[in-house]
Amino acid sequence: MISLHHITKYFNPGKANEICALQDISLEIQKGEFAVIVGANGSGKTTLLNIIEGAEKPSSGTVEIRGQDVTPLPEYKRSRWVARVFQNPNNGTAPDLTILDNFRLAALRTRGKNIRIGIDALFRKKVREKISTLGMGLEEKTDQPMGSLSGGQRQALTLLMSTMDETDILLLDEPTAALDPKSALVVMNLADKLNKEHGITTLLITHNLKDALQNGSRLIQLQEGKILRDLNTENKNRLSLPDIYQWFE
C-alpha cells in the first residue's frame, strides 16, 4: 500500500542549523496493516507521516502509494487515499461549521465540491447512524458547531469522518495525547475497529507504550531518523510492556 524508498529529509539544508530528520529510510506497509510507530521526540516520526501525506517533500527518495509514485503530488491531491487525524483535536475539524457540514466535507474528500446542496434527508440519516455507533449521544447534535464539543468528542468524530469516503490509508499522529483516559480509549478502540472492519491501512504514532503494545499488527521504532526496530505481528505479540520500556532507557 505504501512504499518509501531511501527517504532522506533535511531541514535548513546547507545552513548552520541543518537537521537531518530522516536518513535513508525504506519501508513497506502492506494493505490492511496497522503499524505503530514509537520513538523519542525528534526521532522523525511526524516527519515520516508528513512525507507520506505530502505536507513535506523529501530531500531525496520516493513515496509510492498503491504502486503509484506520488512524490511530486501536493497534500490536497493525495487526500484521495490518505486521511489524517492530528494530535490537536482542533486541527481535524472546522470549529465554526456544524457537525453535519464537517461530515459533508469528509464525504467529498476524494471528489469535487460542486455547487449543489449535498446535505439532504438521506445524508442526515447516514451521518446520524454513523455517529450513533460511537454511543456518545452526539447524533442528536449534528446541527451544532463542531467547536462546541469536547476534545475527545471531536477526535472521535474526526476519526469517524475519515470513513465517510473511500479511505486507503489512515495516519494517526498521537491522536489521544490531548485526551482524558476514557476518551482516549474510545478513540483507540474506534481506530482498531476501522482497521479491522474496513481494512484501512493504519499508521499510528504514539508515546503511550501501552497503546503501542495493545494495538496494531506491527511495531516500528525510530531513532535519530533511522528505523531501529521493526517487529512483525508474531514478534510484537511476544513483547511485554517492560520490554518496550527498556528500548527507551
Binding site: 487526500s79 484521495r80 472546522a94 465554526d96 461549521l97 465540491k113
Partner: protein, 298 residues
Amino acid sequence: MSQFFLTAVQLSICLGPMALGIFITMKVFNIPDITTDGSYTLGAVVTAVLLSNHWPALAVLPVCLLAGCLAGICTGLIHTKLKIDALLAGILVMTGLYSVNLIILGRSNVPLINLKNIFSVFSIFNEELYNQLFVAFIIIIVLAFLMRYLLLTDFGIAMRATGNNPAMTKSMGINNDLIKITGLAMANALTALSGYLVAQYQGFADINMGIGIVITGLGSVLIADALRLWLNVTKIGWQILLVLAGSLLFQMVLAFTLSMGIDPNFLKLVTALFVLLIVALPRMSGRLSGGLPKNNKI
C-alpha cells in the same frame, strides 16, 4: 425629510452587494481584502463608458462583474502564489486600479444624465425614486438568495471551512489557493456591482468615488457581526440578512448626521468614528461585564 431617508435606503441597497462581498472575504475566508476601493470605482467607470456608448444597461452588467472578477483574481494570485500578505496584495491592486480606472474613464468625471439606465429599464412606479428603490430591492433580494444558496452548497461548505481551518481543508482534498482566488473574485465582482448601481443611481462616475468606500462595507459587516453575537444567529440566511441590515443602519446613521447640519467635509471623519464605535463598543461592554465576547477580532 422622508425623501432624505429614502435616499439613504436606496444608497444602502446599492452598496449592499459590496457589503456582501466584504462578508465573503472577511467573515467567510478571514482575509482582509481592500481591493474594494479600486474594484468599486472599476465597476462604476466601466458602467459609465459603456452606457455613454449606448450599451443597454443589462448588457453592461456582466462586463462589470467580469471586470470585478479580474481585479479579485489579481489580488488572489498575488496573495496565494507570491505569498504576499492579503492586506498588501489588496493595496497594490487598488493602487494600480486607480490608473486603470483613469485610463478607462478617459477623464476624472463622466456624467450619465439623460442616458437610459438599469432603473429606467423597468418602470413600474411613476415616482422615479420609488422605481429606483423597487429595482434595487429586487436585485438585492435575488442576490441574497443566490448567496445563501451558494454558501449552503458543497462548494459553499468548502469555502467556509477554508476560512475556518485551512489545515483541515487541505486534507479534505481542497485546493486552498484556488478556492481563495475564487472567493476574492466573487467578492470583487459584487463590489463592482455596487459601483455599477451607484454610478447609475447618482448619475455620474467619478475617479475618486471609491476612496474610503471599503470602510462602509467593513462597517456594515461589523454591525452585522455585533448583531449576530447579540441575537445568537447561526443560520447563513439570517447572517446575510444582517449584513444588509448593517448596510442600511450605516447609511441611516450617515444620513442622520448630515440632517443635523454637519459640514459634509466631516462625513469621512464621522464614518471612521462610527466604525470605531462599532468595533470598540462590544469590547468596552465586555470589559465592564468581565471578559470579551467570542469571535470579535478584527
